[in-house]
């Protein structure tokens, strides 16, 4: 069950700094366009900056960048929002946990903050630690009444399963808006938009990306993802909703890889929560960018046909 106190802490701002995700930009552009447009419809104006870079989470957890290198990178990205006096809205669980954890760490460690700021001052910036980082799914949950009012394309009869992803709920044991083990806010959102929630056994299992595991521990990673996909397939949802572009990429692409290698038949469309909200809010079909998806394309078209294009 969502924690009401945490939800109440999320503001309903007029503007928010829109922090883009690498995977979303370069592999699944629909996440970016739907995130932007849906926030606009819900009355929050996203603000972009082309100076924002990757959060640095991947290179850090790949151990290429030590915390000494990733800490200033986090501070730099957060300072962009601070310059505009805005809070940050992220699309990705990884960005959320990485910006939050490292930001929190710097805020509570003056020494580190000081040395980071020395570097920031050299480039004419300063990290103050005033911008809060919110995940777009939490924003949606906060704005759920506005979503209910603006549904143009109800998801009637669409069976939807959820995948929350680890780095939002697990890493945010005390900071996320929902309980780490049995979260329900995404289900609530789906019901608001008229969809039917399909439970499955492996709901809270990891997608199997494991940051770098998909690259240099691929057999481990695929074995785990297959376990998850088997459980999804059993429940047979029309859509599998994720809230992290990296999970999105893993669950979408590994289906095709397993089909190729093992002649399996995994055909579940995976879409991001922004795309689902965009779908319900009636965004034009090209905006959803389903053309960038690999698995379950036919089923995705069926869903569109059923609920109207």
């Amino acid at each position: 069950m969502p924690r009401p106190d945490k939800v109440a802490q999320i503001p309903k701002p007029e503007q928010i700094f829109f922090f883009k995700s690498c995977v979303a930009s370069n592999k699944y552009p629909g996440i970016e366009s739907c995130g932007w447009d849906s926030l606009e419809i819900l009355g929050v104006q996203p603000v972009d900056s082309d100076e924002q870079t990757c959060c640095g989470g991947f290179v850090t957890f790949a151990n290429v960048a030590a915390p000494t290198a990733s800490m200033p990178a986090v501070a730099r990205n957060l300072s962009l929002a601070e310059e505009k006096n805005l809070d940050t809205c992220v699309l990705c669980n990884g960005c959320w946990t990485f910006l939050n954890e490292f930001g929190h760490f710097m805020n509570h460690n003056e020494e580190v903050k000081g040395s980071v700021n020395m570097m920031m001052n050299m480039m004419g910036r300063e990290y103050k630690g005033t911008s809060n980082v919110y995940h777009i799914a939490e924003m949606y949950y906060r704005l759920k009444d506005d979503i209910a009012k603006n549904v143009k394309r109800p998801l009637k009869g669409v069976k939807v399963a959820t995948h929350y992803g680890c780095h939002y709920l697990g890493g945010g044991k005390y900071t996320a808006i929902d309980d780490a083990q049995m979260p329900t806010y995404m289900e609530e959102l789906i019901e608001i938009m008229g969809g039917t929630v399909v439970p499955y056994t492996a709901n809270r299992e990891c997608c199997g990306t494991g940051f770098t595991q998909i690259i240099n521990g691929k057999d481990l990673s695929l074995e785990h993802t297959q376990h998850k996909l088997d459980s999804v397939k059993e429940a047979d949802p029309d859509l599998l909703i994720v809230q992290c572009p990296y999970c999105h990429s893993q669950l979408d692409r590994v289906q095709q890889q397993l089909n190729y290698r093992q002649a399996a038949a995994y055909e579940t469309p995976v879409i991001h929560i922004t795309q689902l909200v965009g779908l319900a809010l009636g965004l034009a079909v090209p905006k959803l960018a389903f053309a960038a998806h690999i698995s379950g394309r036919k089923r995705l078209e069926d869903v569109l046909d059923r609920i109207g294009r």
Binding site: K173, A180, Q181, M182, T201, R204
Partner: protein, 337 residues
């Protein structure tokens, strides 16, 4: 000056204290907020380590205290205020019919304990699946013959709420190891076909016959003890998947169970801090009543004239509660004489 003693709580510790004072010629007012005497003891089916009939044992004690001429029993009664000092307390009691004021020489607090509701343990699916129950609910199921039939697998989970800084209490609840063994034996007796698994971290069976009792469960009743705290209980169709590590092998394990019993922690009684406020005595960080000196003055509270008995001071088994009730009674008697 009054010669009466007020005993708060009609569980086994309170009953014992009242009996002992009455046997020594003192007058007692025994108050209980519920409708019946017996407390948590009366909710059990069996005792451990000797499998005695709990209901019969507690009924005998209740009868004996009820038949004592100098014990006045007030059910549906709570303490409202307390003034004065040792030997001369003025207490205001809220009974079922109204309030009454009494003058007492000593007060014995035997407020008992409460089984924690493990609602925070969402990983164990408690509250979502009807097949995940607390040990207290298991006792009730056993009494009503609703235990699973046939070749059922039952998993008992230790340390739910105990030894857990994140979601529960840091202390060990002391008796869960033993009563889980008791439950596993009850299960095996009620349904010999059943297969029982107990997930533990350490087995803390401190007391006469306790270790033997747990070995009895393992050896005679074939209860499988797996060392490892359960990480997740997942609902899967008609079954529950219990995931843990068998840390003695170092391998993650999974058991398909039909019933999961959570040994929930013993926590301080509801409203213990309020009661302590009314009486003017200290509680510890958890809300248990603080004893004046843990080793040699275990029944003295921080205020003279107010004595503590039973599991409102710390998690405790029945025998220890009875002993503590007796000691509290003898302390109270010194004020009366």
């Amino acid at each position: 000056m009054s010669k009466k003693t007020l005993v708060i709580g009609g569980g086994i510790a309170g009953i014992t204290a009242a009996q002992k004072i009455a046997q020594n010629g003192g007058e007692v007012i025994l108050i209980e907020k519920e409708a019946e005497l017996g407390g948590n003891f009366a909710k059990l089916a069996f005792t451990f380590p000797v499998l005695g009939d709990a209901k019969a044992l507690v009924a005998k004690e209740i009868d004996s205290v009820k038949s004592a001429a100098t014990v006045e029993i007030l059910t549906h009664t709570v303490l409202q205020s307390c003034q004065g000092s040792a030997g001369d307390f003025t207490v205001e009691l809220k009974t079922a019919t109204g309030t009454r004021t009494e003058n007492v020489a000593a007060i014995i607090v035997a407020a008992g304990f409460h089984y924690m509701e493990p609602t925070a343990y969402t990983e164990y699916s408690y509250g979502r699946s009807p097949k995940v129950v607390t040990s207290l609910e298991f006792e009730k199921m056993a009494a009503e013959n609703r235990l699973p039939q046939g070749k059922a697998r039952v998993a008992f989970v230790h340390c739910v709420g105990s030894r857990d800084k994140a979601k529960g209490y840091r202390y060990c609840s002391k008796i869960c190891c033993s009563y889980s063994a008791k439950h596993a034996i009850m299960m095996k007796k009620a349904n010999p076909e059943s297969l029982n698994y107990v997930f533990y971290i350490d087995i803390r069976a401190l007391g006469k016959g306790y270790e033997e009792f747990i070995r009895l469960a393992m050896e005679e009743y074939n209860v499988r003890y797996i060392r490892g705290r359960v990480a997740k209980v997942i609902e899967s169709e008609q079954k529950l998947l219990v995931r843990a590590e068998d840390s003695l092998i170092g391998n993650p394990v999974e058991v398909e169970a039909d019933l999961v019993v959570l040994a929930s922690a013993m926590e301080p009684p509801e409203g213990s801090r309020e009661l302590a406020g009314v009486l003017g005595i200290a509680t510890d960080e958890y809300g248990f009543f603080q004893e004046a000196e843990a080793n040699v003055r275990p029944v003295n509270s921080s205020k003279p004239g107010i004595f503590l008995a039973g599991s409102c001071t710390q998690p405790m088994e029945i025998a220890a509660s009875v002993a503590m009730g007796g000691l509290a009674a003898s302390e109270a008697l010194t004020l009366i004489k």
